[in-house]
C-alpha cells in the first residue's frame, strides 16, 4: 500500500473520534506552546537586560559594593562604601576617563505656579552623568561639580517634563518646586525616549548632594553611593583604568585585595552574568516543557493502545484482505504522528499568538524565538514516533485469526 493511501486511512482513523483525538493532543499542544512561550519570555528578558545596559554609554566600568565582606565581628559600623567626595578624588587621580557619576533617585511631585506633575522620578547625580549615558543638553547647562559641592538648588528637566511644565516657553531661569524645595531650572535635556525600562524624557536631574540633603538622609550609611559609573575614554584604556581604579578605591575604602569590599564590572561582564542567569532559567523551562511533551506522548500512547484494542477486528480484516504487518504498523504509527503533529501545529499557533498577545497587552516583554518553532515541531513529531511505535507494533503483531474473531 502506498504511503499516501496509508496516510489517508490514518487520517480517517483519527476523525472517527474527533473529541478524543483533540483531548489526546492537548498534552502535546501545551508542551509545544510552553516551549515557544517560555523561550519568548526568556528572550524578552534578555533583550530587556541588553537594552538597559546598552542605554549606558560604551566603555563603562561600574564600581559596585560587594556584600561578601562583613558579617558579625568583622568590623563595627557600616560596610565600606564610596561617598560623593570620593568621586572627585577618583576623577582627579585616574587618567583616561571621560566622566564619573553616581545616582541617588527619589520620587517627588514637581510643580510650577500653574501645573503639578505627580510622582516624577528625581535623579540625583553628578556632572559625569551625561558622559556616562551619552546624553546631551538641549538648552542651558547640566549639573556641575560646583553644584554638587555646594548642594545648589538647581534642576535640569527631561525633555517631556519641560514641555509639560512650560510648553513652548524656555524654562531656563524659571523656578519649579520639587516636593517642598524651590529649585532654579538651569537646563533642559535633549530628547532621548524610553530605553530599556527608563523613560529619560520623563525625569528630572538634580545634584546628588541635594537629594541626600533634602530627601534621602541616610545617617547609618552616611549617604553611601550604590553604584559608581566610570566612563573610559576608549576600549584600549579600559584595562589601565580598571587597574588604577582597583588600587585607588582600595586605598579610599582602606581595604586589601583579599576582601576589597567592591567589584569592578564592565558591560560585557554584566551581560555575561545576566545571560548566565537567564540561561539557567531557560534550561529549567526547557525541562518543564520537555516533561509536558513526554506526558503528552504518554497520553498518545495510551489512546493508541485503546484504539488498537477497539479496532482489533478491523486489523484482522485488513490482514485477511492482504495488509502486511508493516502496513498495519505504518497505519497506526502515522495516526500517532499525525496526532502529535496536529498537536504541535496548534501548540505553535497558541504559543506564538500567546507570546504576541502578552507582549502587546501584558506586563512582560516577550520576543518570539523563530528557531523554536521547528524545534518544538520536531520534538512533537519525535514524541509521536516514539510513543506511537509500541501500540503500532502491537497492532502489527496481532494474529489475524484471533483478531477476526475479536468482538
Amino acid at each position: 500500500m502506498s504511503f499516501l493511501q496509508t496516510l489517508k486511512i490514518a487520517w480517517e482513523g483519527l476523525t472517527l473520534n474527533k473529541v478524543r483525538s483533540f483531548l489526546t493532543t492537548l498534552g502535546v499542544i501545551i508542551g509545544v506552546a510552553a516551549v515557544i512561550a517560555m523561550l519568548a519570555v526568556s528572550a524578552g528578558a534578555e533583550a530587556e537586560v541588553a537594552d538597559q545596559i546598552n542605554a549606558l554609554g560604551a566603555n563603562l566600568i561600574m564600581i559596585m559594593p560587594s556584600f561578601t565582606r562583613g558579617g558579625f565581628g568583622t568590623r563595627a559600623g557600616p560596610p565600606p562604601s564610596l561617598h560623593y567626595p570620593d568621586l572627585i578624588k577618583i576623577e582627579q587621580n585616574v587618567t583616561g576617563i571621560n566622566g564619573i557619576s553616581a545616582e541617588q533617585n527619589t520620587t517627588q511631585n514637581v510643580r510650577t505656579e500653574t501645573t503639578t506633575l505627580t510622582d516624577i522620578p528625581v535623579v540625583g547625580t553628578t556632572a559625569g552623568f551625561i558622559a556616562v549615558h551619552e546624553y546631551t543638553v538641549a538648552e542651558g547647562r547640566f549639573i556641575t561639580n560646583e553644584d554638587n559641592d555646594r548642594a545648589n538648588k538647581v534642576i535640569v528637566l527631561g525633555y517631556d517634563i519641560a514641555k509639560e511644565l512650560f510648553g513652548d516657553q524656555s524654562p531656563v531661569g524659571q523656578t519649579v518646586k520639587v516636593g517642598s524645595v524651590r529649585l532654579t531650572v538651569i537646563g533642559v535635556m535633549s530628547e532621548k525616549g524610553v530605553v530599556g525600562n527608563t523613560d529619560y524624557d520623563g525625569r528630572v536631574y538634580v545634584p546628588i548632594t541635594l537629594v541626600f540633603k533634602k530627601w534621602v538622609n541616610d545617617r547609618f550609611n552616611r549617604n553611601a553611593l550604590r553604584v559608581v559609573y566610570v566612563s573610559a575614554q576608549s576600549k584600549e584604556v579600559m584595562d589601565d583604568v580598571m587597574a588604577q581604579l582597583n588600587k585607588l578605591v582600595m586605598q579610599i575604602l582602606d581595604t586589601t585585595a583579599d576582601s576589597p569590599g567592591f567589584t569592578l564590572m564592565t558591560q560585557d561582564s554584566v551581560i555575561t552574568m545576566r545571560t548566565a542567569a537567564t540561561e539557567t532559567f531557560r534550561n529549567l523551562l526547557a525541562w518543564v516543557a520537555g516533561i509536558s511533551l513526554v506526558v503528552g506522548g504518554i497520553g498518545i500512547m495510551n489512546i493508541m493502545l485503546v484504539s488498537v484494542t477497539e479496532r482489533t477486528k478491523e486489523i484482522g480484516l485488513r490482514q485477511a484482505i492482504g495488509a502486511r504487518p508493516r502496513d498495519v504498523q505504518l497505519q497506526f504509527l502515522l495516526e500517532a504522528v499525525l496526532l502529535s503533529l496536529i498537536g504541535g501545529l496548534i501548540g505553535v499557533i497558541a504559543g506564538v499568538s500567546g507570546s504576541w498577545l502578552f507582549n502587546q497587552f501584558g506586563s512582560m516583554r516577550t520576543e518570539i524565538v523563530w528557531s523554536s518553532i521547528p524545534l518544538a515541531f520536531g520534538a512533537a513529531a519525535l514524541v509521536g514516533i516514539f510513543f506511537g511505535y509500541y501500540p503500532a507494533t502491537k497492532a502489527a503483531q496481532l494474529d489475524p485469526i484471533v483478531a477476526l474473531r475479536h468482538e
Binding site: M1, I9, I321, G322, R324, P325, L404
Partner: protein, 260 residues
C-alpha cells in the same frame, strides 16, 4: 474440464496436520488431511464444532500455517511462506466471505469494496480506476443504488453482497466463505446462495464452511470432517444426510462410516 494436468488442481493438500500447544495439552486439530480441489469447483466443508473445519479453512485461507504437510495453492507451495508473503497470497488469490460480513462501519459500500485494491501493490491503478472497478463490481451484485450507503444503512443480505464484491475485487483464484448465510434470514440466505452458485457457474472456485445441510446442498461436493479427519467426501450433499444427523444426534461410529 481441462486436460488432466496438475494445472487444473487449484488446491492440493497432502497429509496436513495442525497441532496447537505442546506435550500433554497438545490439541490435534487436523490429523493428516488430503484434499484436492479443482478449478471451478464449489465445495462445502461440514462437520461438528471441534472437528477442525475452522482450522482447515484458516490454513486454506493462508491465515495460519500447518504443523506439517504440504499445501499447494494455484501451484505454489504456501505452507512455508512468512507473514508478509502470506499477506500477499491472501490479497491476490483469496477472497474471504465471513459470517458477520466484517465490513468497516465507517466506510461506504464502495470504499469497503475498494479496500483490497489498496493493499494490491502489483497493480498500479489510479484512484479513479479503482473506483470504477468497485462500482462495476457492486453493480454486478445488484447494489448500484447502494454504493454510497454505510453498512448500517444496508440489510444483512445487502451487506453480505458488498462483502462478496470485496472478496471478488482482486480477481482471486478462490472464494473462501465461512458460514456466509449464518446471520441471514432464509430468504436472504437463498439469495446469497443463488449468487454464489451463479459466480461458480461463471468459473469462480468456492470453498464454503457450513453446518446447515440445506445450504451444503447448493455445493457440488461436500467434505465432512470429524476429529480432524475427513470422514466423507462425496459429490453431493444428500448422501451425507444420515451421517450429519448421526453426528448431531451423537450416535455416530466414525470408523464404520469412514469412506474413501
Amino acid at each position: 474440464m481441462q486436460n488432466p494436468s496438475d494445472n487444473h488442481l487449484l488446491i492440493e493438500i497432502h497429509d496436513l496436520t495442525k497441532v496447537y500447544g505442546k506435550g500433554e495439552v497438545a490439541v490435534h486439530a487436523l490429523r493428516g488431511v488430503d484434499v484436492m480441489v479443482e478449478r471451478g469447483e464449489f465445495v462445502a466443508v461440514m462437520g461438528p464444532s471441534g472437528s477442525g473445519k475452522s482450522t482447515l479453512m484458516n490454513i486454506l485461507g493462508c491465515l495460519d500455517r500447518p504443523t506439517s504437510g504440504r499445501y499447494l495453492l494455484d501451484g505454489e507451495d504456501v505452507s512455508k511462506l512468512d507473514r508478509d508473503q502470506l499477506a500477499g497470497v491472501r490479497n491476490k488469490k483469496i477472497g474471504f466471505v465471513f459470517q458477520s460480513y466484517n465490513l468497516l462501519p465507517r466506510l461506504t459500500a464502495i470504499k469497503n469494496v475498494m479496500m483490497p485494491m489498496l493493499y494490491n501493490g502489483y497493480i498500479r491503478a489510479t484512484d479513479a480506476e479503482r473506483y470504477a472497478r468497485a462500482a462495476d463490481m457492486l453493480k454486478a451484485m445488484g447494489l448500484s443504488d447502494r454504493m454510497h450507503h454505510k453498512p448500517n444503512e444496508l440489510s444483512g443480505g445487502q451487506q453480505q453482497r458488498v462483502a462478496i464484491a470485496r472478496a471478488l475485487i482482486n480477481n482471486p483464484a478462490i472464494i473462501l466463505a465461512d458460514e456466509p448465510t449464518g446471520n441471514l434470514d432464509t430468504r436472504s440466505a437463498q439469495e446469497i446462495m443463488a449468487l454464489l452458485k451463479e459466480l461458480n457457474r461463471g468459473g469462480v472456485t468456492i470453498v464454503m464452511v457450513t453446518h446447515e445441510l440445506d445450504i451444503a446442498e447448493h455445493a457440488q461436493r461436500v467434505i465432512y470432517l470429524i476429529d480432524g479427519q475427513i470422514v466423507s467426501d462425496r459429490t453431493h450433499a444428500s448422501g451425507i444426510a444420515h451421517l450429519h444427523n448421526g453426528v448431531i444426534n451423537g450416535k455416530l461410529h466414525v470408523e464404520a462410516e469412514k469412506e474413501r
